[in-house]
Point group: C2
């Protein structure tokens, strides 16, 4: 049997009763830490909470070797594969599940809080107001000539509908590189220069969430021109360009960031103007 | 201090180490079960896992009375408010956090797996492919004359972009009414009759997830004309109208539901035709 289980957002805090039970009789426990980053996660703490040793697996182990070691254990007993956040968010994990199923191995997936849950808990943003989520990767070339259009286009599309856009920021754990909120803010401004479709300007409101829900989480709200200098501390960071904010979202952000309610209200006016300009059909119509 | 913590998706399985720690020194533990439903959750099991008694709170306690009892405990000591799924998904919870903050009470929010995490774990659908999430409520009048346009319009918008649409189905725990997948399927067909914008037909592919990630979860994939007769057992259920499916999503759904890969491939062809028809701008463009 293969059990894929999530560790959630920070350290050992989100480890569930169900995961502890699975760990008890697992033949081997594997830990994958290259697709995501968990603030405060130390292998020795994990070992102490689980009461068991864990084996670190690399990208090579899981992708190039088709997770051979993990599946061999799963074929003859029970392998527990631990991932940060919610499992299957990385396509690597979903491929392993399919591979196991093909070999007739039973699979169980245990959910855990994802970064989306963390953002909701840390910002009070409504789940119904999120547009498509998108990743922002480090530019390969400084000119952005070959930079993917997708993040910019998703933002444009979401803004025109008044929806929030979550940017998941690049994590290259094997290289020790983690995109920070201020770098992401700068990148968005540069994408505007590159594509010039009037999606971002220096007054664009951005929300930065660092180490969502952790003891030392930081939530920033302000203009992108301020955000490029904001120091939110260590990774992981997330950047959100909000759409139209509901009154209760505004109340929450005001409480969380200390920013005056007016900042969010004037942003709403701007989003509304963009919605009208783009001629998006209303999401509510009188019957 | 007010601690709002999620119980996750089913029974006591997703209770976290962090939540157990918070429960130890809480002055009072409150449980709210009217905004959501957790299969297999029994108060006696919860009490046994927490090693503490819990007090059930009703909608009236939290909404009409402005959570007075909870905040009184929080003001003089530590109140732990337990919610199903991830906290703050219900706006009630976010209002309580704001209310506590206004009164100068410290707040901590502990994340937990939400139904979105459950869907990802149970279906292998990619988080990047979700469009806006929407709720489907029970019709007040059989003619659907005053039924909200939003769910239909969100689906139309997502389909035209090739994105997946998650329908969160109505839960009226206080009345013991839970919308089932087959009822939701029927309602979608009736919304098509009502609004007639060619969004749904009897060949529309729908995915039904019942009791996501629980031991007895069921995942269904098939035409909506079959779905209206599909019995997936007890609530909670979720309905997804997929957009364009990635190869790895198809592999996963094939493994999970046993449906031939061709079912999903021909659905992709249909989604693609709709995307072209609606003239949605591509989300990728050559630089």
């Amino acid at each position: 049997m293969l059990v894929v289980a999530g560790l959630g957002l920070c350290g050992t805090r989100d480890i569930s009763v169900g995961l502890l039970r699975e760990a008890e009789d697992a033949d081997e426990i594997f830990l994958e830490t290259y697709t995501s980053v968990s603030p405060g996660l130390r292998v020795e703490d994990l070992v102490s909470v689980l009461g068991r040793g864990v084996k670190l697996v690399t990208r090579k182990d899981l992708e190039d070797e088709s997770a051979r070691t993990v599946l061999e254990v799963a074929a003859r007993g029970k392998a527990l594969l631990l991932t940060i956040g919610n499992p299957l968010i990385a396509t690597t994990h979903s491929s392993i599940v399919v591979e196991a199923a093909k070999r007739g191995i039973k699979v169980r997936v245990l959910p855990a809080p994802s970064i989306i849950d963390g953002i909701i808990a840390s910002t009070g943003l409504h789940v119904y107001k999120f547009g498509r989520v998108v990743s922002l990767v480090f530019p390969e070339d400084p000119s952005l000539k070959n930079y993917p259009y997708t993040p910019y286009s998703v933002l444009k599309d979401n803004v025109s509908r008044g929806l929030h856009t979550i940017f998941l920021l690049d994590i290259r754990a094997d290289e020790g590189r983690y995109m920070l909120f201020r770098e992401a803010s700068e990148l968005l401004l540069r994408l505007e220069e590159r594509f010039q479709e009037n999606v971002v300007d220096e007054n664009t409101l951005v929300i930065g969430v660092a180490r969502a829900t952790a003891e030392d989480e930081k939530v920033f709200a302000g203009r992108i021109s301020e955000a490029i200098n904001a120091d939110l501390g260590n990774a992981p960071h997330t950047l959100i360009v909000p759409g139209e904010l509901h009154d209760s979202e505004i109340d929450f952000l005001h409480y969380k960031t200390g920013r005056p309610v007016e900042v969010f209200k004037s942003w709403n006016a701007k989003v509304n103007a963009k919605k009208k300009q783009s001629g998006t059909s209303p999401t509510w119509r009188e019957p």
